[in-house]
Amino acid sequence: MEDEIKHGNVTHVPNKGSPESPHVACSDSNHNNNNSNNKEQDRFLPIANVSRILKKVIPSNGKISKDAKETIQECVSEFISFVTGEASDKCQREKRKTINGDDIIWAITTLGFEEYVGPLKLYLSKYREMEGEKLIFPKQQRSDQRRQHSEYEQNIVFNNNNNININTNSNNDVYSSINVYPSFVPSDQPFSLPFSSNSFQKQL
């Protein structure tokens, strides 16, 4: 398996000639590199994104080898699986069907990554506030249209951001499990967000 892993790059695996592929769903040149390669790429986060993040924590004169990036890429996927497994077990024990953000945070804590929890909770609460606020572009209309559009926007957001259906059976169930907090954000925010704090103060 490891020999065949290619991380987000067009590969040079021998049997990837397009006419010889047993079945190719897409005729896109990337997807012509046989199906197993496609699946391998899907197992990992894009290496470019991973690279961008890890470059932030090494000095500017530092370099990272390609195999190190790939290893980190694999580790991240393992991390996601590991945490998701814990969160999924918890949901099963509690007879819930949907893994939500709090389950993830719980699993992360349980597995020893407590340091992440603070920033994550902050991030999640910011996201929930944004979800309630971000919907309509014109700020003046935001208070009027916010209630009307909150549900509509939920579907829009997650349909556009997420091209792949989370659950083919009942998308609405998934979307309705999201909690939107329509309340105004207080002006004293933990983050300094120059643009948004200005806009919020106009609201208030």
């Binding site: 197992r43 991973v50 195999d67 790939e70 290893t71 580790c75 991240v76 699986s81 994550l120 997420n162």
Partner: protein
């Protein structure tokens, strides 16, 4: 497109303080989550968001620890063995031990020194 305009307009420079709303693609995160087990059926919309941040923190921590190994070796290129060493040296990353061992033992690097030293003492 409309979502990209409003969403990134509000979040750029905001939550993550970086370019764009999220550093990692949500759809891919969801795929990986679903592959983690058959029991994983329904995932709330905010789960990939949380993971996006969690993975960012994870990548940063793993890289920082690996980079420390690189510096100890007085090198400036972080390589795979440094990552493996960092994993071995960190209890938190125990779940990665098999992963980096498989990668590392494809005939190249010997097992990390910490384990050998520990075992012999």
């Amino acid at each position: 497109m409309r979502q990209a305009g409003t969403y990134s307009g509000i979040l750029s420079g905001g939550i993550s303080g970086k370019t764009g709303p999220h550093l990692l693609p949500l759809a891919r995160i969801k795929k990986i989550m679903k592959k983690s087990g058959e029991d994983v059926k329904m995932i709330s919309g905010e789960s990939p968001i949380v993971f996006s941040k969690a993975c960012e923190l994870f990548i940063k921590e793993l890289t920082q620890r690996s980079w420390m190994v690189t510096m100890q070796g007085k090198r400036r290129t972080l390589n795979k063995e440094d990552v493996a060493s960092a994993v071995m040296a960190t209890d938190l990353f125990d779940f990665l031990v098999n992963l980096v061992s498989e990668s590392g033992n494809s005939g190249e690097a010997p097992p990390p020194l910490e384990l050998d030293t520990f075992a012999s003492s």
